[in-house]
């Protein structure tokens, strides 16, 4: 009899500390139904989760949300990550995070800060965020981050309204003192799916954006690191979503549910376990949701016999479900998928309609 393949050790934990957020971005990838404040895990639970995560092999924790600064215990949470030996990355809108709290976070051992900026043009940025004055606050907080000596990443989510200003965004990030900038095309999950027609760029825009990023990388080599998240509706090969299901990362929701990826709850029939009832180690190794698509045994054709199956892992399970209606088929983004034409049909639906904002 064959011994079961050893379960790999995860590298990263996405800790969604809260779903509360002052912004209303139309591309939000959080689910349509949010966890409310009363259901959020308490400080002690996060302390335990971080300790268990480090024991499992996790090296980095991404403190996210919602807006993580909506939690008053954020400095204690950062300290717990540091005490557990984890590298902590704060993913923030910068709205509602005061310089005083930021200093407390730095003192608690925070390693890195990532601030989202919606556009290089302030008016457009505030419109996208659904928050007047957001852009100015973000720039001010970015300066505080640099002043404290913390490394800064600027994250720009790219879509039709700002795709022409990638060069200006990179200039802005350089001006703010960022060491790294993320040019992340919208991924259509959660709330973003509701706004797909209003956000979707054209193929020509995407091709130009990819060329711009390449040019900027060469131009600014050694000055700033430019990471790009590809716009997969125009791709021929799928992204290796979360580096493979149950392989490299895990995600804890505000209420303590542990997901193999951020959007996994859209897939019907998956059983997720909660840190309130199970240790993180048990969840990683034994929860039905993590084992549902781990490895390659679950695959069908064309993935099953594909030479790239250990590279892209069949793409994204959520996208397979959302577009093809079946989480077990190849990600329709792949040109070998029998459902590939559906992706082009969806990308062709582009309407200049008003955004649907989250109101929380």
């Amino acid at each position: 009899m064959l011994a079961p393949a050893p379960v790999p050790a995860p590298l990263g934990l996405l800790a969604e500390l809260t779903h509360r957020c002052p912004l209303g971005c139309p591309y939000c990838s959080n689910p349509l139904a949010l966890d409310d404040r009363a259901s959020e895990l308490d400080t002690a639970s996060w302390v335990r989760v971080f300790r268990e995560a480090a024991g499992l092999g996790v090296l980095q924790v991404h403190l996210s949300g919602g807006e993580p600064a909506a939690r008053r215990d954020l400095p204690e949470i950062v300290k717990a990550a540091r005490d557990a030996g984890l590298y902590s990355n704060l993913i923030t809108s910068a709205v509602g995070l005061t310089p005083k709290t930021l200093t407390a976070l730095a003192d608690a051992g925070l390693d890195h800060v990532q601030i989202s900026i919606q556009d290089a043009q302030e008016k457009s940025a505030d419109h996208i965020a659904g928050y007047t004055g957001a852009s100015a606050r973000k720039r001010a907080l970015a300066a505080e981050v640099v002043k404290l000596g913390l490394p800064l990443t600027v994250n720009m989510v790219v879509h039709r309204a700002n795709i022409e200003r990638i060069e200006e965004m990179v200039e802005l990030a350089l001006g703010l003192g960022a060491g790294r900038v993320e040019i992340a095309h919208v991924q259509y999950y959660g709330w973003a799916l509701k706004n797909r027609a209003a956000l979707m760029p054209s193929r020509e825009q995407v091709d130009a954006a990819v060329a711009t990023v390449e040019m900027l990388r060469a131009k600014h080599h050694g000055r700033i690191v430019i990471d790009a998240v590809v716009p997969d509706y125009y791709a021929r090969f799928p992204k290796p979503c979360v580096g493979g299901w149950g392989r490299r990362s895990l995600n804890v929701t505000p209420a303590g549910k542990v997901l193999p990826c951020h959007a996994a709850e859209v897939i019907p029939g998956l059983e997720f376990w909660n840190v309130r009832e199970h240790s993180l180690v048990d969840i990683w190794r034994s929860s039905p949701a993590f084992n549902a698509f781990r490895g390659t045994d679950w695959m069908q054709e064309p993935c099953k016999s594909c030479a790239l199956k250990e590279k892209d892992f069949g793409g994204c399970r959520c996208q397979a479900f959302l577009i093809a209606g079946d989480a077990r088929v190849a990600d329709p983004v792949c040109h070998l998928s029998p459902h590939h034409a559906l992706v082009a049909d969806l990308a062709a639906v582009r309407e200049d309609v008003a955004y649907s904002y989250r109101s929380s």
């Binding site: 390693d111 490394p151 060491g179 993320e182 080599h221």
Partner: protein, 98 residues
């Protein structure tokens, strides 16, 4: 796609890990790792021996001397080349300050 190294590594440079970059040991990951913003690098023995000396105290020259002493038998030029390559590559990625 090979990128040209742009950082100039001088014998008098004092390399050090900047804030936000840490060298850590993790048993479950099987050894030493360099942690940075959204990045994890596994450090092999050579990388580890070089990186642990990048404290800002020692110059590149002193690091090479120290390594030559610790690994008697390895030619100094070879060690020097390894050190410059690793340090220069990491400096380009902003994972090391010179």
């Amino acid at each position: 796609m090979s990128e040209q190294q742009t950082a100039l590594v001088l014998p008098t440079s004092h390399p050090r890990l900047p804030r936000g970059v840490r060298l850590t040991h993790n048993e479950a990951q099987g050894g030493w790792v360099l942690l940075a913003p959204e990045r994890v690098f596994k450090a092999d023995t050579v990388a580890y021996e070089i990186l642990k000396r990048c404290t800002g105290e020692a110059s590149v020259d002193e690091i090479v001397d120290d390594l030559a002493k610790a690994f008697a038998g390895a030619p100094r030029e070879r060690i020097h080349a390894d050190v410059v390559k690793l340090i220069g590559g990491l400096a380009d990625k902003k994972l090391l300050e010179l």
